[in-house]
Symmetry: C2
Subunit: 207 residues, 2 copies
């Protein structure tokens, strides 16, 4: 059985990761979205195992202790993390998993799951990123400057990623990501792992 | 200026490289086909620089001596080879070049041009390959057996390639190759080489 891929989609704040991910959901219905674990309370309509795996603080800390998370972080008093189990089970079934995550979290995932495919989403230019950050609301100049400086530092982390995708136009960015997924399945090492007959042929030819 | 890619499409005899290549020509009109040099006489309607670069034996041997060929071979008394110059010029213009070539030739190209993207076309199964080889004409069993044994040896050379593409259905195979080309342009190292602004940002963030 050929294993699925873990695709990690990241990029600086304001680049449009969430939008690209939701458009991909429609274009690639076969992609499974990684479900996060959290200690925050479920909101109206949220379902355990669908929107999140809802955990108590004790359960979450136990997952940390058991190294059961590919990454986690604390945010406004609650834990959020990526359960390794869900990813492992899904790719073992031959399905691809996508994880949308900020830049620092993605690097933690890379430590624990280096065989993932790490995709960095980029703005067409720094000016364009500034416009997107500014366009979000009525922020002060100093807040915008701070966010830009954080985003620029985040962009420096692209050197740890496998692929760079410019989010110039959402459909074009999604098309590039789809191509990356298709191409990664064709990579010789991955491909051969799922093609027993050919492996036998290669061994014979080598001998 | 972002450089183009050299895509080398190879695979065992009988796998359908030529057919896949001619369908790709229609699907990817932006792809430039590598033009071979040869010492054979031009046939009716063949144009120098379009179908082949037609060379005298002396000219061809001079190209060999100058290391001006990515690979060459002698076949029925004539030389055939891939001029490096044409590939270098075309990718310097930012265009992608595709080279369809048999398995041994591709490995010679890899020696001289390791930055190429090496794609190995595979039959869906050995039975299917045997049917394709048999289906070519009224060959004797021993000829078919010999061809199969050569093809199996050739398949063992897949270990030197970057990608494996199954030619189960021509459109599907072409779609995979198109995806590989798109994805390779997104590979971080290649991408950054053509994105000066971002390189400056990364240097700044590292410092």
């Amino acid at each position: 059985m050929k294993k699925g891929l873990l695709i990690v989609l990241s990029g600086p704040s304001g680049v449009g990761k969430g939008t690209v991910c939701s458009v991909l959901r429609h274009k690639m219905p076969e992609l499974v979205y990684s479900v996060s674990a959290t200690t925050r309370q479920p909101r109206q309509g949220e379902m355990d195992g669908i929107n999140y795996f809802f955990k108590s603080k004790e359960q979450f800390q136990d997952m940390i202790a058991r190294d059961a998370l590919l990454e986690y972080a604390e945010y406004v008093g609650n834990y959020y993390g990526t359960p390794r189990d869900f990813v492992d089970k899904t790719i073992a079934e031959g399905k691809d998993v996508i994880l949308e995550i900020e830049v620092q979290g993605a690097l933690k995932v890379k430590d624990k799951f280096p065989e993932g495919v790490f995709v960095f989403l980029l703005p067409p230019s720094l000016d364009e990123l500034k416009q997107r950050i500014t366009g979000r609301g009525t922020e002060t100049t100093s807040v915008i400057d701070h966010r830009m400086s954080v985003a620029v530092d985040e962009m420096g982390l692209i050197r740890h990623y496998d692929y760079a995708v410019v989010n110039d136009e959402i459909d074009a960015a999604c098309h590039r990501i789809q191509s990356i997924v298709t191409a990664e399945h064709c990579r010789r090492e991955r491909f051969l792992a799922g093609y027993a007959e050919l492996q036998a042929v290669i061994e014979k030819a080598k001998a």
